[in-house]
Symmetry: C2
Subunit: 180 residues, 2 copies
């Protein structure tokens, strides 16, 4: 497998369900040649769900990668490159928490690991939440917490939250959106 253009040659090591691994031979803007190991990822979403009473929905999830329980906002992977991230956010929010959002607003886009991964995470805040039925996957081990934003920020201060997208969504929302 491979593709060619004037400045890059790609060799796939693995094409997986969610992530793929490729080696690229590329010419950098400084004219130098570089060989890089790159993880290809379709992109993802993370959602800060805010209930009518101002409380937020936070999950605690077992992550086999880091062999740890991790506080995370609801999140998910795009079905494929090009899926509308807003649609993905609405779907993942409902599946993971059992809330359907009437309003969803983009906060920012982040690269979690630009050194070796193509992933972009689209960060949303969701409001106008109506209760439905969560449909968590069997391989998702999740506890749901309802807490105030202040209590979530207190979890950050105590260094109990380590997930980058969750830290960023909470700190960014508190700083730039809370009083608007």
């Amino acid at each position: 497998m491979g593709s060619n253009n004037r400045s890059e040659r790609t060799t796939y090591i693995y094409k997986g369900k969610r992530i793929s691994l490729k080696i690229i031979d590329t010419i950098l803007p400084n004219g130098k040649f570089a060989k890089k190991e790159i993880v290809e990822h379709p992109g993802a979403v993370v959602i800060l769900p805010i209930l009518e009473n101002g409380k937020i929905v936070l999950l605690k999830q077992f992550r086999p990668s880091v062999k740890n329980w991790v506080y995370e906002l609801p999140a998910g992977t795009l079905d494929k490159v090009g899926e509308d991230p807003k649609e993905c956010a609405l779907r993942e929010l409902e599946e993971e928490t059992g809330y359907r959002a009437e309003k969803i607003e983009a906060l920012l886009k982040i690269y979690p690991s630009p050194g070796y991964c193509t992933e972009i995470i689209h960060v949303y805040v969701a409001k106008g939440l109506k209760r439905t039925v969560p449909k968590q996957e069997e391989t998702e081990v999740i506890e749901t917490l309802i807490l105030s934003l202040a209590d979530a920020i207190e979890l950050i201060r105590k260094e109990d939250i380590a997930d980058a997208k969750t830290l960023l969504a909470l700190l960014y929302y508190e700083k730039y959106f809370l009083d608007t």
Copy 2:
């Protein structure tokens, strides 16, 4: 290649210079069986360097993974699992910026992508900076910026900074450490 214990079987797809890819068959805390694609990463550091005049050192770096120029604080990958992250931070800071730090303090630890990657990033703030000679690698395409923390925060507000570790180090430092 593979290893066995009571609850996990690991098959390596690829063992690379920096990242490896493995498939794990694991038993989750809920007793269910799961097969996961996991990127193995030795861990990394990111450093917020603060000069005597209060200004910070920020880099703008071309990242082939996302085919984009990305604002990033100095950062780097541990040479191997188990390298002292503080040593790594001091080395990477000097290599990338040409500053040696007399004081380096841990801020927090983050998981950039716990859904599929083992990576932990250790976040530091560095002070007491003395000028030396940067030793950037040929495959690093980097511009160095010296700017105030307020100007960096303004770049965040304008959504010019997308790198998760950089956003977090800046927002976390401003919120919890600036006036202490």
